[in-house]
């Protein structure tokens, strides 16, 4: 019992230690030339443009759900006039970032984890290294950087879709012009209310990219190992993303009151 607890603990710290070493290697590779611009652009397209439909759809669905729930709750308290701002704030500050993070974690985390794991078990990563090309720079740094850059942009897209469908859901029940919705929803909006929650998703991008690359590039054990890495990438990235959100929300409230 004590032995297994000790093994679990040491495995936990070993994982974090290895993750730290991996991050350091990626960071060092990322800031030293030659820079892999072409691969970065390819990853921006892969992670950003190709995730857009999924993120937009998720955002649209969330917009409808939040709209219906908010309308029902506000009606009970006779505060229907607060509907536009409730929708805007709950989407942009809370739902948009976390839903985008989780959707991207599922799509990109699994994709990167499986791709790199497959490359690892078929010795393709060794072949890159043997060709005197730094795999941390070519494979990991480009993917992580693309995740960091694209997450805030995808969040903006998800927010926009959510607000649009939220307004449509509301307007279908009760007449509300788009102009009125926007004016009322964004009334008194400040930098602190919208920009930090959107840009905190860059940290989600770091978490998704880092964990997926780490899990992928340390894969062992053939096809089963590839499957394990893909699953672990999604599970761990989603878990750490939610845990990071707890810290980030508090951080934003303190730094950007």
């Amino acid at each position: 019992m004590v032995d297994s607890a000790w093994q679990l603990m040491s495995g936990f710290f070993e994982w974090f230690g290895n993750l730290g070493i991996f991050f350091w290697k990626v960071l060092r590779a990322a800031v030293t030339p030659p820079y892999e611009w072409r691969e970065l652009i390819r990853q921006l397209d892969e992670i950003g443009a190709k995730s857009f439909p999924l993120v937009a759809l998720a955002g649209a669905a969330i917009g409808v759900v939040v709209s219906l729930e908010a309308r029902y709750t506000l009606s009970r308290f006779g505060a229907k006039s607060l509907f536009p701002s409730t929708l805007v704030y709950s989407v942009i500050e809370v739902m948009g970032p976390i839903v985008t993070g989780l959707v991207v974690s599922g799509r990109i985390g699994a994709g990167i984890g499986a791709e790199l794991a497959s490359m690892k078990v078929t010795e393709q990563i060794d072949a890159i290294e043997a060709s005197a090309i730094n795999p941390y720079r070519l494979l990991a740094a480009t993917r992580i950087l693309a995740c960091i850059v694209m997450l805030p942009l995808l969040t903006v897209a998800a927010d926009a879709c959510a607000l649009l469908t939220g307004w449509i859901a509301q307007a279908a029940i009760e007449p509300l012009s788009f102009h009125q919705f926007v004016e009322s929803g964004f009334h008194g909006a400040t930098f602190n209310a919208f920009v930090p929650p959107t840009f905190k998703t860059a940290v989600y991008g770091l978490i998704i990219g880092l964990i997926a690359c780490f899990q992928g590039m340390r894969t062992t054990g053939g096809a089963a190992g590839v499957g394990r890495s893909a699953t672990n990438s999604v599970v761990l990235a989603s878990l750490f993303l939610i845990l990071a959100d707890v810290v980030l929300v508090k951080f934003i409230l303190v730094v950007f009151p």
Binding site: P34, S118, M119, T122, E123, Q124, D126, A127, E129, A130, S131, A132, I133, N134, L138
Partner: protein, 262 residues
């Protein structure tokens, strides 16, 4: 007959002196868990020489190649590439040293998302960034012609046979015109005709480019054809090193058994 003990001289540090071996391995140890794979081996390959490393499966032949290129670190001992101890090199210096080494993996390890031509162009794109595209394409074409794969430029690795993948892997290993070649089972899984073609290609490279090669193989005929020296590994040690004829003269029962039933 030369044995491992006879060749354990430390390589001289002066590059270009003519005495510096292309690859020198000294007192190399490697253990995985409780399994000691290499137990203090010494090897030396001069420029223009080809050393065939033989041994039963699981005796650490492929591990030796991975240690030489620096993909895995040794537990102790040293590896010199053209006189430079790779353990003492910075990341950039190790990269420069690796540019001089071409590595053919046992299963070719082609990049499965790239075409045959893109696979061969891959090292050139990263190390010869200023090379004009037309020149790069010409070189890729020439390399693939050299290995008899000029008709498969746009095919994906999954659409060609294992033997063809090996040829493409060899073309990729030659892309940067390496001075040293590390070949892991270049003829394994190939039909006899393809095997001999690969052997001929390696011989041609030896004569034309004066490359130093370390070839891990189970193919005794191939080893005899392409190498001027052979080293036999057993239980983590080089038990004998010399020419094929020298190995044949050995009284050691294991060596005699191995040569009769490789």
């Amino acid at each position: 007959m030369a044995t491992a003990a006879d060749i354990s001289t430390k390589p001289k540090e002066t590059e270009g002196s003519g005495c510096v071996p292309a690859v020198a391995v000294e007192n190399l140890h490697k253990t995985f868990g409780t399994n000691t794979v290499l137990n203090g081996i010494n090897l030396r390959v001069n420029q223009g020489d080809t050393l065939a490393v033989l041994g039963r499966s699981g005796t650490g032949k492929s591990v030796l190649l991975r240690l030489i290129i620096g993909l895995i670190p040794p537990d102790s001992g040293s590896i010199h590439i053209q006189g430079k101890n790779i353990a003492e090199l910075s990341v950039d210096e190790l990269g420069k040293a690796r540019e001089k080494v071409g590595f053919l993996f046992q299963h070719a390890a082609l990049y499965d998302s790239l075409t045959v031509a893109e696979n061969v162009a891959f090292p050139l794109k990263h190390h010869r960034r200023k090379m004009p595209k037309s020149e790069r394409n010409d070189r890729v074409q020439r390399l693939l012609t050299e290995v008899g794969m000029e008709d498969s430029l746009n095919k994906m690795p999954s659409n060609i046979s294992g033997g063809m993948q090996k040829r493409v892997g060899l073309a990729r290993a030659l892309a940067l015109a390496p001075e040293i070649l590390l070949l892991d089972e270049p003829t394994a899984g190939l039909d006899p005709i393809s095997s001999r073609e690969i052997d001929d290609l390696i011989l041609k490279l030896q004569s034309e480019r004066h490359t130093a090669s370390v070839v891990v193989t189970h193919d005794l005929f191939s080893a005899k054809t392409i190498s001027n020296r052979l080293a036999l590994l057993n239980q983590g040690n080089v038990i004998i090193e010399g020419t094929f004829e020298e190995l044949q003269k050995s009284d050691d029962q294991f060596i005699r058994d191995f040569l009769q039933h490789p």
